[in-house]
């Protein structure tokens, strides 16, 4: 408890738990509110119950997964484009190695 007191109130585990509970309630309310208020759909299917919620969640899921998969192909180390310089350094160190070998 003492440990928890030292943390900023916003990052205490109890606060975070309460935040999760609170936001779950808000999420549920936002969907349930559709029983009271009429959501005007433009194309029919977008007026279905909870359509916005499901569509938002699923499209984010798809985007994150696509990004993840693309990341496997596209991700490179931060210094990827600096490589030519590294090559030069490599060569020079190589030369140094040669020199020292010659010296021996």
């Amino acid at each position: 408890m003492n440990d928890e007191k030292q943390l900023h109130w916003l990052v205490r585990p109890s606060t975070i738990r309460n935040l999760w509970i609170g936001s779950s309630i808000v999420l549920a309310l936002v969907v349930l509110a559709q029983t009271v208020f009429y959501v005007k759909g433009y194309f029919g299917f977008d007026a279905w119950f909870g359509f916005g919620a499901i569509y938002g969640f699923v499209s984010c899921l798809v985007m994150v997964l696509v990004a993840k998969l693309l990341g496997l192909v596209l991700k490179r180390p931060v210094d990827y484009y600096d490589e030519p310089q590294d090559e030069q350094n490599l060569n020079s160190s190589h030369d140094k190695l040669k020199e020292s070998n010659n010296g021996v």
């Binding site: 900023h8 559709q34 916005g52 919620a53 994150v64 990004a67 490179r76």
Partner: protein
Amino acid sequence: MEFEFFSPAFILLIAAVLICLVKGHARTAVVLIAPIITLWAIWQVPDGVQSTVKFLSYNIEPVEGSPLRRLFATIFAIMVFVGGLYSFRIARWYELAAAFAYAAGAIGVCFAGDLITMFLYWEMMAIFSTVVVWCGGTPGARAAGIRYAIMHLLGGVVLKVGIEGVVVGTGSIQIQPMLATDFSTWMILIGILINAAAPPVSAWLADAYPESTPTGSVFLSAFTTKTAVLALILLFPGEPVLIGIGLFMVMYGIIFALLENDVRRILAYSVVNQVGFMVVAVGIGTEMALNGATAHAFAHIIYKALLFMSAGVVIYRTGKNKCMELGGLFRTMPVTCVCGIIGALAISSFPLTSGFTTKSMISQAAVDGNLVWVYMALTAASAGVFLHAGIKFPWFVFFQKDSGLRPKDAPWNMGLAMVIFASLCILLGVFPEILYALLPYPVDYQPYSIGKVLFYLQLLLFSGLAFFVLLPLMKRTMTISLDTDWFWRRAAVYVFKIIERIFSSVGEVIGQQRIRLQNFLHIIAVRYLGQPHTTDSRERGVFARSWPVGTTALWIAALLSVYVLLYYL
């Protein structure tokens, strides 16, 4: 004051020169007052063409007013003022001067009445924005600035080719709506789209902007892409190609921002994403859509600059720009944090922010045009924007984990600039009528209805849920992502290397043959002409030997007899 020939852009140009000449408080005064005078001047420009100058048999129209042009110029001037307020204490004088000249170019494009004037201001923007990128001062900024300059000068050449084609084809340099039907109109469209960061060259934006200084990126985020949007509205309203291009930009921006670790690069990708919305709207081309594109550009400049400002303060205070190194900054940077969150909510078009009242006009235009797929894609993209910019940016910078950093909050001027823009985000969200009244076409649109707000809340809040559920998948890595700039940063280098290798091996073969030929000729020469510098006659070649006089006399006699013989024949 008359604005027949005097574009409001000149005020900022003069200010840019003054910034170079004066120092201290006088410079601060110039930085803060010039944009206000410009704003006043912008509203003095009446509708229609103000003057015509004959130049090389072309009718040049330096200043032309219309509600659309004034609105873009207005937000540019506001941007210069707040950007100047944000940066005047830490930016170097040459960066401020370049930024002002860059903004002057943008405002010049707003009021350009003909294609030639537009092109001149267009190039001015390219040059001075490059200087702003270079002001980053690092080797990375220098290299990125060169790539940026090449890209934009290339875009300028393509645009110029198109303009020449149109002038030759139609004999008119008027700025008027056209469709991409032939080579020259396509060239104009491509030239403009390069500035709008459209595929396949979108990469220039995320390459260059994050390399500039924290203050420079605030200016950079505002002008180039939005001027391109204005040019598209003026020249290509209703061009169907733009819908596809815009949707690609929207999705590209989201996906690449999700992969990114650099804070400002996340924001740079989301510029592409947001400009994609506007490009789609121009492609739809109805009055509603063009209103939406204009309003969205207006709101976008404010919240995107706000986001870059809050990222800029973080980078200025901590010197770090990677999500992995940041986190937990909300403790000591409350103003920056709150303003960043407001900007993030606005970009995600949360109800009661400017994003909601402007971006939903574009969706409405898609509905009116019965474009189901476009509408659904834009809606999915709205969810994606909340994911990559709305939550990701504030979460990784201000919350996430405790990075142990305890930087001071923003200096007063930076804080004030952020508060001004944050208030504007909310003002335009709560009272959208202010902006609607200024739009080029009459607005008959109600942004707020319970059903719509509920739909967007569901969409956005569940995107937020998705973010936190998928957080393990979004763990940042110390990586960059390959983009199309790989083709000119790597592939082109490989191609050059291969060509170089081919040439050098051809050169080697030629060299070897030359040496062989040389040796051969040398042997011949030695045989007949003899070794140079030898005193021993026996070693000399046939022709170099010294012969007895008798032999010579014999040969001469023989030749003379042949001559006599020939003479008598």
